[in-house]
């Protein structure tokens, strides 16, 4: 059983007993919720915001401004403790690191373009994440089924910035080694042998 409810008010909830109550809908909370659900626990998943929580939200334009300007406050664990009379509850505080220390917003006059197109854009606070193909996170995403809601894109090229040379291509394939004009022939041979060694 796994329920996730975005709460705007406090309606009554049935059932009233849960193995786990989670506050907040960031990725870490969601992963915990899914993991507990998989092993058969009952979970109550709460969030005081009208959007997914914190660093991992993808916000519409309006939500972005309200997110940035509103005080960042979560119900503290003490509140939860105070609300409860039972000694069976174990309270765990998840620590979140804010991804910005200060934010300043400036509002420009809204144009017709913005009015018409605001709903077409979402802003991903966390940005895209780079994962290795063989990373354990991939296994987790596949097992939990979360991969169905994600899109993947391969990295086409990598660059190294050198002060005097600017962006320099990182050679990562046989074809690129073949085409490269800077490496000497011996260096090409050494590099391809390194590739074969680490494969």
């Amino acid at each position: 059983m796994y329920l996730i409810i975005v709460v705007f008010s406090y309606p009554s909830i049935d059932p009233v007993n849960f193995d786990l109550i989670i506050v907040g809908t960031a990725l870490s909370e969601c992963v915990i919720a899914v993991a507990a659900s998989v092993v058969g626990k009952t979970i109550l998943h709460l969030d005081p915001n009208s959007f997914y929580d914190s660093h991992f939200a993808s916000l519409s334009f309006h939500n972005l401004t309200s997110y940035l300007t509103s005080p960042h406050s979560l119900p503290s664990a003490a509140t939860v403790v105070a609300s409860s009379n039972s000694d069976d509850i174990v309270v765990v505080d998840l620590v979140h690191q804010p991804f910005y220390t200060d934010a300043e917003t400036a509002t420009y006059d809204e144009s017709v373009f913005l009015s018409e197109n605001l709903r077409k854009f979402n802003i991903d606070l966390g940005g895209p994440r780079a994962l290795f193909c063989a990373d354990k996170t991939i296994d987790l995403l596949m097992k939990s089924g979360a991969a169905q809601y994600l899109e993947f894109k391969g990295i086409d090229e990598s660059f190294v910035y050198e002060a005097n040379a600017g962006l320099v291509n990182v050679l990562d394939s046989r074809g690129m080694i073949f085409r490269d004009k800077k490496l000497s022939l011996e260096e090409k041979n050494q590099l391809i042998r390194f590739f074969k060694l680490v494969q």
Partner: protein, 691 residues
């Protein structure tokens, strides 16, 4: 697909496959009925289209489509455009099923050749298929066809190969296409592709990236080999050797007694000469050798000369040519010297197979000396049996004459190689050595061996440059161990290099030359070249052996004697203890008119059920050679010996006096009887004297 194991089908897959097969068989049966009855209705056409989309490999169906198209075109109401459009759509569908289908590509070419179809889409289609399978050589062949049709320039196509190779340089077809295009551009000296040297240097640099990036990928190496060949190749035919050599002296003996004759490698001695051969050895097959292109002036010349190509397949083109001066009608004066002057190529007309003209007029002068007849009486038996034991041979310590075996004037036949070729090959040697120091790979070693051999052939011994022979031999020896799959190839190359080394100078050849002593321990006139126990698997350097009259190649690993037909002076030949597996492997021997003694004992004649050299041999079946059927039938009348036709083909034109076939599986009484009939001149068979 290569290297992928077959997997057993699962039960349900097997059932589905069986159902599919049954349906296909039904479609095919209907199609064949339509084809047989020349039915070209729409239903019949649709059926053939269905068959081809399932199985594009069905050539019969493609042929049926061609017949149907011709049928419709003969109808005056037909619209050629739509007919051919349908064909092109079908081809495209078939190629999506299997883009390696030759029949589909060929059909598309056939349709385009009719001239009714637009070629605008062909490049788009090609690019699509070549993206799916970049190495598909059918697509590359078709691309060359379309590029020509569109009059697309070689330069643009060359740029395309560059792009494809840049994407993945492991593309044999793209490299090959590049060599085809460059050949065209170099041939017509296109702007930007002249001189040849600049182009080849750039191409070498281009392919270096491939062979250094991944030396185990052989696609670049094949292109590299092509570049080497372009660098060292000599287009024009050249005379590399002749007999008599320029400046030589020929001694003619009036009788069979060779006692007391002067002997030398260069200055030949002929016994019982009814004819005097003149042999020309070119660097490639040529035609147009006749009495006007090769003019001979001599007092010995009394009649029109007929030059003959020494060719196995009755061709007018050959690498070796011979003419015989007939001395039988001429009364030779004792102690007189006759001069012979041969002028080659002063008239145009000598052309190589690829259309290049002989453009190096040269002259050969020699002297023919008639020896005074011996005062001793001629023996009545007409000669003794030849034996090949060590005791019959005496090493030659030195020669009296100061002449070199390869006269200095021989250099006249050597082309003036440009310095660029030598430098370029030298640079490639350095590059390959650099690579081998980084990474040891078989094909790198093979390329180094080839480059070193090429360098040796470009820069001869006369300029004092050290030979690379030892290193090349070591490389091939290493390769035999590293790459046992290709052992025989490396062994052949090793043999060729060994023979080149042995025959390269007088000093290197001397240890292998022996005087022949007959049974009475008397030194005869023969100098025998003994190349035995050298593990030779292939013959080479024949151009340096034209003078040889007695040759011992026994105790080697020869399976053939290619090129031996040029040795027109050869009188005694020992091929004992080799690996000749069939008579057809002896075909060059058939052209040796001077041959009297042949030893092929202890070979494998008759041991192999499959004759691997028969397809190379001209035969009655191939109609390439005149076969004396009448004589053959007469000889085999009393013996059921039709299986001996190969032996008849080889021996039928020889006049052997001695033949030894001991130790071969074929050597039974029937065969011996057959041989006695085929060779009426035979005096000794298997070391036994015939009555």
């Amino acid at each position: 697909m290569h290297g992928r194991p077959r997997k057993a089908l699962k039960q349900e897959d097997e059932a589905a496959s069986a159902a599919k097969t049954e349906k296909l068989r039904s479609v095919q049966a209907q199609f064949l009925a339509n084809h047989h009855n020349h039915i070209y209705s729409k239903e019949a056409l649709d059926l053939s289209a269905k068959l081809l989309e399932v199985n594009p490999e069905c050539y019969t169906a493609w042929n049926y489509r061609k017949l149907a198209v011709q049928h419709f075109l003969s109808n005056s109401d037909s619209d050629p455009h739509s007919i051919f459009d349908d064909e092109l759509k079908l081809v495209e569908n078939a190629l999506r099923k299997n883009f390696k289908s030759y029949g589909a590509w060929h059909h598309r070419k056939w349709v385009l050749n009719k001239g009714h179809s637009s070629i605008d889409n062909e490049m788009r289609l090609l690019n699509g298929f070549q993206k799916m399978d970049p190495r598909n050589f059918h697509a590359w062949n078709y691309r060359r066809f379309v590029a020509e049709l569109m009059k697309r320039s070689d330069e643009d196509e060359l740029k395309y190969t560059e792009e494809v190779i840049a994407t993945n340089f492991s593309n044999y077809s793209a490299w090959h296409n590049r060599s085809v295009l460059l050949s065209n551009l170099l041939k017509r000296k296109a702007e930007g592709y002249f001189p040849k040297e600049k182009v080849l240097e750039e191409e070498f640099e281009h392919v270096h990236n491939a062979i250094f990036t991944d030396p185990d990928d052989q696609s670049g190496w094949f292109y590299h080999l092509w570049l080497i060949q372009q660098t060292v190749k000599i287009d024009a035919p050249l005379l590399v050797s002749s007999w008599p050599s320029h400046g030589s002296n020929i001694t003619l003996i009036g009788d069979n007694d060779l006692r007391g004759c002067g002997l030398s490698l260069l200055n030949g001695t002929l016994s019982n000469p009814g004819t005097l051969p003149i042999i020309l050895y070119f660097n490639q097959a040529v035609e147009g050798i006749n009495s006007s292109t090769v003019a001979i002036k001599s007092e010995l010349l009394k009649e029109e000369l007929i030059w003959k190509p020494l060719s196995m397949n009755n061709s007018n083109t050959a690498q070796f040519w011979v003419v015989y001066l007939n001395l039988g009608n001429f009364e030779l004066q004792p102690s007189k010297t006759y001069s012979v002057e041969i002028n080659i190529g002063h008239s145009k007309g000598i052309i190589s197979s690829n259309g290049n003209h002989f453009d190096d007029p040269s002259q050969i002068s020699c002297k023919v000396f008639v020896q005074t007849a011996s005062s001793e009486p001629t023996e009545g038996q007409g000669g003794k049996r030849t034996t090949w034991k060590d005791t019959n041979f005496q090493k030659i310590d030195h020669f009296q004459e100061s002449d070199s075996i390869l006269p200095a004037d021989q250099n006249h036949h050597i082309p003036t190689t440009s310095n660029w070729c030598t430098e370029e090959i030298g640079e490639e040697i350095t590059k390959v050595r650099d690579l081998l120091s980084e990474y040891d790979c078989k094909i790198g070693k093979l390329t180094l061996a080839r480059l070193l051999s090429a360098l040796d052939s470009l820069s001869f011994q006369y300029d004092g440059r050290k030979s690379n022979t030892e290193e090349v031999l070591q490389l091939y020896t290493d390769l035999m161990k590293l790459d046992p799959t290709h052992y025989l190839y490396y062994k052949d190359e090793h043999s060729l290099i060994s023979l080149k080394r042995i025959t390269s100078t007088r000093d290197s050849l001397l240890p292998y030359c022996h005087y022949y002593k007959d049974a009475t321990e008397t030194i005869t006139g023969y100098v025998c070249l003994r190349l035995r126990n050298l593990s030779l698997s292939r013959m080479g350097s024949i151009e340096n052996l034209l003078w040889v009259q007695m040759l011992d190649l026994s105790h080697n690993e020869l399976q053939s004697v290619e090129g031996l037909e040029a040795m027109q002076l050869l009188s005694c030949l020992n091929l004992s203890h080799n690996k000749f597996g069939s008579f057809t492997a002896l075909e060059p021997v058939r052209l040796l008119k001077s041959l009297k003694v042949l030893n092929i004992s202890y070979n494998e004649l008759g041991s192999h059920s499959i004759d691997t050299t028969r397809y190379l041999c001209s035969s009655p079946v191939s109609h390439a050679e005149e076969f004396a059927w009448d004589r053959f039938e007469l000889l085999t009348d009393s013996i059921n010996a039709t299986k001996f036709w190969e032996a008849f083909l080889i021996f039928g034109s020889l006049t052997l006096t001695e033949l030894n076939i001991t130790g071969n599986a074929v050597a039974d009484e029937n065969f011996r009887s057959f041989l006695v009939k085929v060779l009426p001149t035979l005096k000794w068979l298997d070391d036994e004297e015939l009555s």
